[in-house]
């Protein structure tokens, strides 16, 4: 037995030694220091970083740092597109846009200059490969006019175009290199893998290592013609929100993208700062207008009763500080948003009266939502349970139908769900992006809402409106849409970026949630 004790001591000593070794293992003489590396963490939503195919948050965050775009939103002001690589001019009828290459010193990461040919190729590739973001330039003819000028012609007025071009999905790539690596402007394009591993942009960074499952490493682009970034290397890691919180508190990471409001509250000044930005996402209830599918939800009085039964202030509490009421699905910072003070209010007496009118006698209504999804920190399962409890107070009985998001989306897309929670993230900050919710639009089809002459007339008027009148016309259209209660706007959540205390200066806005190149 004495030998057994000796063995135990030996094993324990080995373990202690290992732990000790581990504790001093964070420094590395081979790998250089941590000083010029910025570590950012997010729970990956990444399919690709080929700019013309990516359509998810992580890909977009990376491409923002790697690719320059023809136009930009200066200082994150989403209402005013400004010059990027090009300056622009729109024709009076909004059908023709002229882009003039402005930044003539811009060069790609291999030293090649950015030319009008690269811009034309990039636009045509986006259109031709028929990826997820191809719709951005639907119906737009792209033509090189001369070495400095590119024209974009639309058959219908396209006032949204300046708001579309700053999107990182329309990043300008080095056409010569991409073409050499199976890049084409049609569906035969085979350059995705190449672009994932060898970025071809003119932005402040280039891709050093791409691993869609764990991390993407960026290094400074020595040919970038803008100010040299302080952080020469950016490591974007795939990390759960819980671990992000500990990492930002401990200084292990400098940027965390996915903290919810409760987690954000735990960051005090000694650990870092919270940058709260208005999110471009909308959370809403959808109601199926087909009586056979929607049941009670197809009745306008029932829908309006639901709208009157919701306690919106409590939803704001749930979504956290900085979240906002919505009077339509258009985020409050966009042209065409309906003023917040026109947002629906809770009125239980009104709700009960409307329910009587609808002939609703308390039957259960199936209520679908993605049980595994959180939108800007708002857990949809928690939101659904909150709504169920609130509506119960008006004697509306929701039968909760949770499902994984992929399955839930399938049901919604096939227009077979009577009622549930929907989410929409703006593709570009222009009200025309919300036309899909107007009868006949692709999302309206999911609730079998195919015609409404009043709304169609308002949509026509809005499409023709120009200048300041455009804002008012779209606001009128989307206020009328909310009044039908087919879509019930719930809350505009807040986008939170936690920035560690080692960063003294940074730019964080609704356009690029965190600008790696400007961090100091």
């Amino acid at each position: 037995m004495r030998r057994l004790s000796r063995n135990l001591v030996a094993i324990c000593s080995t373990l202690a030694l290992t732990a000790g070794l581990a504790a001093c293992g964070s420094g590395s003489d081979e790998a250089g220091g941590a000083g010029d590396t910025l570590v950012a963490e997010t729970a990956f939503n990444l399919k690709t970083i080929d700019p013309h195919r990516q359509f998810e948050f992580t890909g977009s965050t990376i491409d923002n740092a790697v690719y320059q775009t023809a136009l930009e939103f200066a200082d994150g002001d989403l209402t005013k597109p400004t010059d990027g690589l090009c300056s622009f001019e729109m024709s009076d009828d909004d059908k023709e846009m002229t882009l003039t290459l402005k930044d003539e010193d811009a060069t790609f990461s291999n030293g090649d200059p950015v030319t009008a040919d690269d811009i034309v190729f990039s636009f045509k590739r986006l259109q031709g490969i028929k990826g997820n973001p191809s719709f951005f330039l639907d119906g737009v003819k792209v033509k090189k006019v001369d070495d400095k000028t590119v024209s974009l012609t639309s058959s219908e007025p396209n006032p949204a175009l300046p708001y579309i071009l700053p999107n990182s999905s329309i990043g300008i790539v080095n056409s010569k290199v991409v073409k050499k690596n199976e890049g084409t402007t049609d569906e035969n394009d085979g350059a995705e893998q190449f672009l994932n591993e060898n970025s071809q942009g003119s932005g402040p960074y280039k891709v050093e290592k791409y691993d869609a499952d764990s991390q993407v490493v960026l290094t400074a682009n020595e040919h970038y013609n803008g100010p040299e970034p302080k952080y020469k290397r950016v490591v974007l890691r795939n990390v759960s929100a819980e671990t992000q919180l500990t990492d930002i508190q401990s200084g292990q990471a400098q940027v965390a993208f996915d903290l919810n409001s409760d987690q954000a509250k735990q960051i005090d000044d000694s650990m870092g700062k919270i940058s709260s930005l208005p999110s471009t996402r909308s959370l809403y209830i959808f109601n199926n207008t087909d009586e056979k599918i929607g049941g009670p939800a197809a009745d306008p009085n029932f829908r309006k009763a639901v709208m009157a039964a919701i306690d919106y202030d409590k939803l704001i509490d749930l979504a956290g500080k900085g979240s906002q009421r919505m009077a339509s699905l258009v985020p409050n910072e966009f042209v065409g948003a309906v003023a917040k003070d026109e947002a629906p209010e809770r009125d239980l007496a009104k709700a009960k009266k409307l329910l009587k009118k609808a002939g609703y006698d308390g039957e259960k209504v199936p209520f679908h939502y993605s049980s595994d999804q959180a939108v800007n920190g708002v857990d949809l399962a928690q939101l659904a349970e909150t709504l169920q409890a609130q509506l119960k107070e008006a004697d509306i009985n929701l039968d909760l139908k949770p499902a994984p998001s992929s399955t839930q989306l399938d049901g919604f897309r096939s227009a077979k769900q009577p009622m549930g929670i929907g989410t929409w993230g703006a593709d570009f900050p222009d009200p025309t992006n919300y036309n899909v919710f107007i009868p006949g639009g692709s999302v309206a089809e999911r609730v079998n809402w195919n015609d409404d002459p009043k709304l169609e007339k308002l949509a026509d008027e809005a499409a023709k409106a120009k200048g300041d009148a455009r804002d008012a016309a779209y606001a009128k259209l989307f206020k009328a849409t909310t009044d039908t209660a087919v879509w019930i706007p719930l809350v505009q959540p807040v986008s939170t970026v936690a920035v560690g205390s080692s960063i003294t200066k940074f730019v964080s806005n609704a356009d690029v949630s965190f600008d790696f190149a400007k961090a100091e």
């Binding site: 057994l4 581990a22 001093c24 293992g25 081979e30 499952d213 890691r237 819980e242 500990t246 897309r413």
Partner: protein, 370 residues
């Protein structure tokens, strides 16, 4: 009847012995029992692997949802033409049986398909993440075996004492505490508060991984002579391995305790003690060795489950292994990934069982004769 029955029996016996002699002369020498045993086990393993391909293929294809929509995303999925083209490209327009045989044919050529989400070959991705899980699994199994066996042995030898009760309580906690919770608390305490281990990930973010040989950072950094990287990788390995090991430690402690208690009561142990052999010899040569055989099964299966069940631990520690890869595949309905990971985990289990069977065969001759 009795006579009639007896006569042929005699005749049979007589003739059988004569035939046996002849057969011994003509038939090739009988296979060695151990080789026969190995061949049978290989055969069974191949059939099982084929079974796994059928099950993973059927299960993933019977999910009532359309992977094309998940692949294309909202915008592109709105265009029926693109949807049809994608279905055709992926072969999803073919009957299920045709799809299965295409899958099997590709599999035999080492092609596990391409991830629908990242367009990366599944085999290459598994090759990337598998070593991470192996490294974590080996760390966890080493800790489990050492602690589990020692604690179990100690608990049995001190049966019904305070030490025994304490160990049994600890093992119960190890088995019943939720891994995700343990992982989060452990990360908070040992990394955030005490700073005795480094943060999440397999290496500090600013360290470049060593040149790939095995994919195990600890081994590769040693091979490359990068001692600082080795120490960093080892440091990152300690906490997740301990957390992952906790359940198995509990399991092994309980199992080895009861196994040792069974052996202690056997006559040969009593005889050994009666002969006056030293306690150390009795414990290690007689009791522990005897108890070891059934424990091999538990260790083998535990290794398989460590590889497949590390999803939560890998998530908390940002450990980019098979578990995280599987989780990502499942949540994005990435069928090639789900099938690939399912197959690999199935093969690991089958291989582990095969090895366990072999060890049994070597250790206990009765097994291979059966």
């Amino acid at each position: 009847m009795a006579e009639a029955a007896a006569a042929p029996q005699h005749a049979h016996v007589a003739s059988a012995s004569g035939e046996a002699d002849a057969a011994q002369r003509v038939k090739p020498p009988k296979l060695h029992p151990l080789i026969r045993f190995i061949l049978i086990r290989i055969g069974i393993s191949i059939i099982l692997i084929w079974g796994v391909t059928v099950v993973t293929f059927l299960l993933t294809n019977l999910v009532p949802t359309d992977p094309v929509a998940a692949i294309l995303g909202d915008r592109a999925a709105a265009d029926p033409e693109i949807v049809a083209q994608t279905r055709e490209k992926l072969g999803l327009d073919q009957p299920l049986l045709v799809q299965y045989f295409t899958y099997l044919g590709n599999l035999l050529q080492g092609d596990l398909g391409v991830s629908n989400q990242t367009r990366t070959p599944v085999l290459a991705s598994i090759g990337q993440v598998f070593p991470a899980s192996i490294e974590l699994g080996i760390g966890a199994i080493l800790i489990s075996v050492i602690l589990g066996l020692l604690l179990g042995l100690l608990s049995a030898l001190k049966q019904n004492s305070l030490v025994d009760h304490a160990i049994r309580t600890l093992s119960l906690i190890g088995i019943s505490a939720p891994t995700f919770w343990i992982a989060t608390v452990a990360y908070f305490v040992f990394f955030f508060k005490l700073r005795v281990v480094p943060g999440a990930g397999r290496l500090d973010p600013w360290i470049t991984p060593p040149p790939k040989v095995t994919g195990l950072y600890t081994v590769d950094s040693l091979l490359a002579g990068q001692m600082a990287t080795f120490s960093n990788a080892l440091g990152h390995l300690v906490l997740p391995s301990c957390v992952l090991a906790l359940f198995t430690v509990g399991l092994l402690t309980r199992f080895s305790r009861s196994s040792v208690l069974d052996i202690i009561r056997l006559d040969y142990v009593t005889a050994a003690k009666a002969k006056g052999l030293p306690a150390r010899t009795v414990v290690f040569k007689y009791i522990f060795r005897g108890a070891l055989v059934p424990i091999i099964t538990v260790v083998g299966l535990a290794f398989g489950s460590l590889l497949s069940g590390a999803v939560l631990t890998e998530t908390v520690f940002a450990w980019n292994g098979l578990g995280q890869y599987a989780y990502r595949g499942a949540t994005t309905l990435d069928l090639p990934v789900i099938m690939g990971v399912g197959l690999v985990i199935g093969i690991v289990y089958i291989l582990v069982n095969f090895i366990v069977d072999l060890i049994y065969g070597f250790v206990d001759p009765r097994v291979r004769v059966r």
